[in-house]
Symmetry: C2
Subunit: 141 residues, 2 copies
Amino acid sequence: MLANDPTEILKRNQLKNTKQRVRVLEEIGADDAAISQPDLEKKLGKEIDRVTLYRILNAYEDKGILHRIIDHNGTANYAICSSNCSSHHHQDEHVHFNCSICAKVYCLPVNVPQITIPNGFKTESISFVAYGVCDKCSAEN
Amino acid sequence: MLANDPTEILKRNQLKNTKQRVRVLEEIGADDAAISQPDLEKKLGKEIDRVTLYRILNAYEDKGILHRIIDHNGTANYAICSSNCSSHHHQDEHVHFNCSICAKVYCLPVNVPQITIPNGFKTESISFVAYGVCDKCSAEN
DNA sequence: TTAAGATATGCAATTGTATTGCATTAATTA
DNA sequence: TAATTAATGCAATACAATTGCATATCTTAA
């Protein structure tokens, strides 16, 4: 019944309930920060084939289950969408923070501010990523 | 004497004046939008080795001559910094626009708005990329 | 103007990231 | 539980990025 129970999420999105898909949701849900594709692969590489992992992540992004954040290095990071995101229209456009030391990507509780875009440009989504040193890495130095 | 004359830029930044470096600056300066690494490689691949191109781009970014914008796909795009950027502290933090049709990255004349970051996080730079359809592609459809 | 030193370049090899096609396996449903 | 439908794993491939090293080029100081 939990809204973020993997089985529930899969059912809600008409995706087959496979152990690989459940594992991906568990792994991403377990982390407070977003998790990168390479890290996911390190954690799940023995259970799930690389290709399957890519396909699962793409399927989740299409359904709006995950959102993808491209970090400073161009690496894909994934986090579970907080609320009603739909295909190709993610509602949770909050600010992300990418740490230059631990490389983690955090979802900050800060909304992306409104801006005025020149005429003729049609905005579909916005990526706002602050880059710097996170609280944990700041404290350790 | 022009501030964006390639030879001047190289001298100002204590970089050796080589024909490869001049060509990269010419090519990036010629485009109104930022240009992607793959496109640069297509244009310059016969004159400049891939590896050299990567090294030149990195050197320029370190010196603050270029700024790098990671687009929606994680691809690096480069544009000439408008004004006094220094190593690792790029001043021109304006909004970028990444077109989903032509894939171009535009530097918009809009500054990145200020936001409040949680305590402990130290921001060094900000990436603000709006994703959607650009004015030219909108007009064509 | 040129020789010496410092640095950039190109090549070959390697690593990492992402995608495609296809045979096999697993999940759903009636 | 059998039939259908979709997901997975494997092999192959494409593309992006980096490293080490020999060679070539630029700069400078005589």
